[in-house]
Symmetry: C2
Subunit: 484 residues, 2 copies
């Protein structure tokens, strides 16, 4: 096999744009994925010679790596499954995700012990595999866009290997405030920050997460860094690994928006119309209001308090009994962890309790769906009179941005102030404090009571704000900033 | 009964200096309590005409109020038991304590619902009872020292009733960083801060908690306040309730120290010597090292990770097997709450597991005592070669300050950097990150291995630092600052 040419533009992320599964006949089936990054990268076109470095996630992916099967422009890394598991589940999703979303029950967890140190070594190995592949695949002076909390160490590792590259990192999650970030062992907290400060530019979805990152640099690295706040951004000067003096990392905000073209086209296909018919049958009476929420069943999404607020609405505002149906789509997530299984069970229990307490022969107050179905999600978006997006903490939350774009007749948005999307949509949403169930119930009442014309006007403004920086422009903004 | 004279100096705290119990013969037995505030107030002497306003806590106290029984200088408030329960357990201990110690398992709690709002109304009523009693009992221009998180609303309520008074508030807990403080509903977060800003001076045990308070004012009250940092303190200017312009609250640090005189005398009494004999028998061999921890079984005290670190020490450093005994005194606390009962059970389970794994016929690695016994605590302080004080977060932690004062032969102190005492003792303690079990195990090894002369020298310096601001001086410092 000929050595592939080195690329002028590289993207690195845990999950790549393609995945493989083993068919019964022993062949590999490739499946292209979607999402903001795939859509964003399409902005540079196929002639840009971009290379996407990603990890083999499952057995099919690993088999593809073994057989040398690859899509053009994609380099999949065949990381040892044990190392991958420890890095991905044991550090990224069990620790870094929990820290940035502040999800720990701290009297009992986290416990940083010898077993954790072994998982941390796997995270380093996994990051090193990416840094090696990127160093290997980049032409001189290439731009490298590294994605998310799985790959925090890559920018610095890559800088050490290839000082000639332009490197950026983008964090899709929130960033923890210093007092919470410092739950991490000191050396690991410092390593994560130093890892990111190997980049020329680091990006976040909102000013709030960017400011938290800068505060963590100041708090954890102290004298090792100086931070400066400029008019619309920040920079952090830090000691270079090789001590050649200070280097500067710019801290940017790029608020990923919804992909209006894709959503509008996709939501008008026949399968979505079929789902709308099925949902209408479940909702019952045509004059019933439809309240929608769509999430992975993730601890940070606050599905339980959302149900509590709905129960309180039915209790306190009996006029809504029989006149509203809540469509709650809670798709399975991380069911390997007991705490997620318990949470999923509590969601189901509470939905059943509400149906038992308030339901009648002709009215089921909560319709809960747990099987992931994107067409049905879009159908619910189109039907929704009110959408509830009340996460405890969320890097962005694209559901909040997608619904106004897709909505048929306008949809009132009840939005947590702790979602990243709040920065973009706060003006026309009904903003709630995610822990305040009483206030959330009142916001649901206000949203359900909103006159249709006001709802339509707000939805129009929400859709405009939600699409201000669609994926392609979001990607180009980062790339242009990086190339200076 | 003649109207008592109005007082020039008043102290307000939930728990007073005396409590009553009903004897079998129907009489009331009074019992004087101890603690920093009792000792502190003694600095002004009995002729100062001080009045201490406190709540009736139990049935005996309430009966004393009904019968008009009172100690001179003490006014006990007969608050309705339901109101008291909701204010004390339902708000102060279940919410404010949890917020300031960051103890919530936030995916599921707190839930601020209608039931919580009723408890909050009780907290307001309870604070109002204190404000009324203080307004009633204070002579013109009197100094009023309000204590702790139970009484956050009192300063402002009292200021509204009596603008002539000098009012201070002291917080004995940590203070939450803004992102955590804002778990509270917005109006309640603001009310707590505005309540404290009714004082002329607010005090904390460390700069860290003082800074967190100032950050919360800035973050939650925003334009309503301006804060200034001065060389050794802060001030916060805020809008007065009656809008007569800005008023200034000074933010002070007064790090309560140990009461050396009391501790040295008390720890030399015969009952302590008896307990030492009993403990020595439980420890076994005279050459065994003694590792001590003494706490209430409080979620913030980190007793479980302390046991995990000890288990790790025995695993990784087998030379200590048979040569060290851990005396763990974990006194019952808040056993009305399931989460505390579970935590207490886990402490017992883990201690038993360690004894089963490593114990031998002649050696029990962990000796766990759960019945509160102050004489036995002092006996353990005297015997300790190493003390482990590793809270997740602690306003001060007086155990860390008492042990060096009482120690017979010097004691190495392993101290969490998240205890308030760290600010005073950090230099001569072995400082640990409370979540890092591996590092804590290594610190225990270092402490056990410390040469006796170094240990003695450090203990001497620790004792000096621990007694730098004993209770009487701590009290006078606040009073003098308040009187200007």
């Amino acid at each position: 096999m000929a050595e592939p040419p080195r690329a002028p533009l590289l993207v690195a992320s845990n999950r790549g744009p393609v995945s493989y599964s083993l068919r019964d006949d022993g062949d590999l089936a490739a499946r292209r994925g979607g999402g903001g990054l795939v859509s964003g990268l399409s902005a540079v076109g196929p002639d840009a010679g971009a290379l996407w470095v990603c990890a083999a996630l499952g057995d099919g992916d690993r088999e593809a790596v073994r057989r040398g099967v690859a899509e053009p422009g994609v380099r999949m890394l065949g990381i040892d499954p044990g190392v991958f598991h420890d890095a991905y589940n044991g550090v990224a999703n069990s620790v870094l995700w929990f820290v940035h979303h502040m999800l720990y029950d701290i009297p009992v967890s986290p416990v940083f012990d010898a077993a954790f140190r072994r998982r941390w070594a796997a995270y380093e190995t996994y990051n090193r595999a990416f840094a090696d592949a990127l160093a290997d695949g980049a032409e001189h002076g290439a731009a490298v866009l590294v994605q998310d909390y799985h790959l925090c160490l890559v920018p610095r590792m890559l800088r050490e290997r290839r000082p000639d590259l332009r490197i950026s990192h983008f964090t899709h999650t929130p960033w923890a405030p210093p007092e919470y970030f410092r739950l991490l062992p000191d050396d690991i907290a410092a390593a994560l920050l130093r890892g990111l400060l190997g980049a020329d530019r680091v990006g976040f979805h909102t000013r709030r997460w960017a400011e938290a990152f800068v505060s963590c640099c100041f708090d954890v690295l102290g004298n090792e860094t100086d931070s400066y706040r400029e008019k619309t951004s920040w920079r952090v000067d830090s000691a270079l690994p090789d001590r050649r003096g200070k280097r500067t990392t710019f801290v940017d905000v790029h608020a990923l928006g919804a992909d209006a073209g894709f959503l509008r086209e996709r939501s008008r296909r026949p399968d979505v119309a079929e789902r709308m018919t099925a949902l209408r049958a479940q909702i019952g009476g045509a004059d019933r209001h439809v309240l929608v929420r769509v999430d992975r069943t993730e601890l940070s999404k606050n599905i339980v308090r959302g149900l509590l607020a709905y129960r309180r609405l039915l209790e306190r505002r009996p006029e809504w009994r029989g006149r509203v149906v809540k469509l709650a789509f809670a798709y399975p997530s991380r069911q390997d962890l007991a705490v997620y299984r318990d949470y999923t069970a509590e969601v189901a229990r509470l939905a059943a309790e509400i149906n038992e307490t308030y339901g009648t022969d002709g009215w089921q107050p909560v319709v809960l769906h747990v099987e992931d179905d994107f067409a049905r999600s879009l159908a619910a978006y189109r039907l929704a009179d009110v959408a509830l997006v009340n996460p405890l903490r969320d890097g962005m939350n694209l559901v909040a941005k997608e619904i106004p774009v897709v909505s048929d007749d306008g949809c009132a948005l009840v939005l947590s102030r702790d979602a990243g999307a709040y920065a973009d949509l706060g003006e026309d949403a009904l903003v709630v404090h995610p822990y305040d169930v009483e206030a959330t119930a009142e916001a649901l009442h206000a949203a359900l009571s909103m006159p249709r014309d006001e709802r339509a006007r707000r939805t129009e403004r929400l859709a405009a704000a939600a699409t201000a920086l669609p994926p392609q422009e979001w990607f180009l903004a980062q790339l242009n900033a990086l190339r200076g």
